[in-house]
């Protein structure tokens, strides 16, 4: 245990750097986010205004938590933009909001180094993910007060709450499943 922790400490990655690995993972994350959103667009959560149940939200959270904030931000922002290109509309403030989600989720790497081999580390990733969703969707929803001239009450009840609550639930349930599955896959293949 002590040896592995020392090893992790020694190989502390630069979480803001962009190399070949990050380029490929950013592209893959954005494609997965857009693809999953595209496939699951049919699932509508009753009571939500313009927000569907999007299990795809776990993709920027996962890519941020495991590969860093830049990969997470790209996955969220460009993935949402590509989904916009598939549906025919562009809402730039929601693209920025999704980028913030991935970015904040990626800050978990400061505490976990992208390795989720203990319950505590998974809880840390969950914590950053919830904060990321609140900040990212908060930005998207409340920027509509300025962009679309909504009132605060309206931005909260028709956008922020219907968007953030399902995303938090989705993130809290699906992120640990993905992290554990990724650990198992990395351990099995010796990659990652």
């Amino acid at each position: 245990m002590a040896i592995s922790e020392r090893r992790e400490e020694r190989s502390r990655p630069n979480i803001w750097g962009i190399g070949v690995r990050e380029v490929v993972l950013m592209a893959l994350g954005a494609a997965l986010y857009a693809g999953l959103s595209y496939v699951t667009n049919a699932l509508q959560l009753p009571g939500a205004s313009n927000v569907s149940l999007r299990p795809g939200i776990v993709i920027p959270l996962f890519f941020g938590a495991v590969f860093g904030p830049i990969v997470g931000a790209f996955t969220g922002g460009i993935g949402n933009l590509i989904n916009d290109l598939l549906t025919g509309t562009v809402y730039w403030n929601w693209d920025v909001g999704n980028a913030i989600i991935g970015l904040v989720a990626g800050l978990a790497m400061y505490n976990t180094l992208g390795r989720y081999n203990s319950t505590v580390k998974i809880i840390v990733a969950e914590f950053y993910s919830v904060i990321g969703i609140l900040i990212g969707l908060g930005f998207a929803a409340y920027s509509d007060i300025w962009v679309s001239k909504l009132t605060f009450a309206s931005a909260t009840t028709t956008e922020f709450i219907p968007a953030s609550l399902p995303d938090i639930v989705l993130g809290l349930i699906l992120l640990p499943i993905l992290l554990i599955a990724y650990n198992a896959a990395v351990g099995r293949t010796g990659r990652g």
Partner: protein
């Protein structure tokens, strides 16, 4: 399931525009319109946006899916906003003496059983004007936004972002993500079909919200983990080819024409002027420099 971008190949003035122009116009107008609730300013933008959209020669049958969504969103933003806010929706303008038209019957929460009671929402000239302005603002932004996916070849997005000052690596990642997309969608659909064969019913997820979400895992986990593990081969291949070592060249080069440069200059100048007028409007509380801070209602409507 085949993935289709909504791009439609056609020869129109908007299709010929540099993608950077389309983004510049959208951002410049969105950020300018966000600074005012002046009816006449937004009306002018609305008319200009309609002209722009018509120039793209997009048919209703091609764009109706996007428009249904936009109409739904606009309804929520405008009318639900009005009722949730108790009619007090006017913002961003000086509003000291509203001109009352009539009261709208509605319900509100009360302290005693049955906790709901009748109430009245005041409907004023100002709120009617604001609703019209807000509707026009949303539609004018949509008229500028919808042509972007419908008239821009997805192959040009990477180089367009490069042309907007984004780094080579990020631009290439955008390009690459568009190439990955068909494969990822195919993998999701293949996995979905395989899980359905085992009795997985995504269309009829049972249970509460937690149960539903947990039942989505068999579709998501195999594709995501398989893709990430498989990406190591792509990373290795790119590293072997020394990706990112030198300056990157692009197969497609964007050539901005005179009209493209003119439109980008107009967009940036227009945004700068509106921002300046907005700032001056805080300093001068009356007169023409204050007009962005007013709704622009004619005197005979609001004496």
């Amino acid at each position: 399931m085949l993935i289709n971008f909504v791009y439609i190949k056609r020869d129109t003035p908007i299709h010929r525009l540099d993608p950077r122009v389309k983004f510049a116009l959208l951002f410049a107008y969105s950020l300018s319109a966000a600074q005012t609730s002046n009816f006449w300013f937004i009306l002018a933008g609305f008319i200009g946006a309609i002209y722009y959209y018509r120039s793209a020669r997009l048919k209703w049958s091609e764009t109706k899916r996007a428009w249904y969504f936009i109409i739904f969103i606009t309804f929520i933003l405008v009318f639900v906003n009005f009722f949730i806010s108790g009619g007090a929706i006017v913002q961003g303008v000086d509003l000291s003496h509203p001109h009352h038209l009539f009261d709208l019957p509605f319900v509100h929460f009360t302290r005693t059983f049955p906790f709901l009671g009748p109430t009245k929402f005041p409907f004023t000239v100002e709120s009617a004007t604001f609703i019209m302005t807000q509707t026009m603002r949303n539609f004018s932004i949509a008229f500028l936004a919808v042509p972007i996916p419908f008239t821009t070849n997805p192959d040009k997005f990477g180089i367009a972002f490069k042309g907007m000052g984004i780094s080579d690596k990020i631009s290439y990642a955008i390009d690459l993500s568009l190439r990955f997309l068909p494969t990822t969608v195919r993998d999701f659909v293949t996995t979905l079909d395989a899980q359905r064969a085992r009795g997985f019913e995504i269309d009829k997820l049972r249970g509460g919200i937690f149960g539903k979400v947990a039942r989505l895992a068999p579709m998501i986990v195999p594709v995501v983990i398989g893709s990430v593990v498989g990406a190591e081969d792509i990373i290795s291949a790119m590293e072997l080819r020394c990706f990112g070592v030198g300056k990157r060249t692009w197969l497609v080069e964007l050539q901005a024409r005179r009209i493209d440069r003119l439109l980008i200059t107009l967009a940036i100048t227009g945004f700068a002027i509106v921002t300046l007028l907005n700032i001056l409007g805080f300093i001068f509380t009356k007169g023409p420099l204050h007009f962005l801070h007013t709704q622009g209602i004619p005197a005979f409507l609001a004496p």
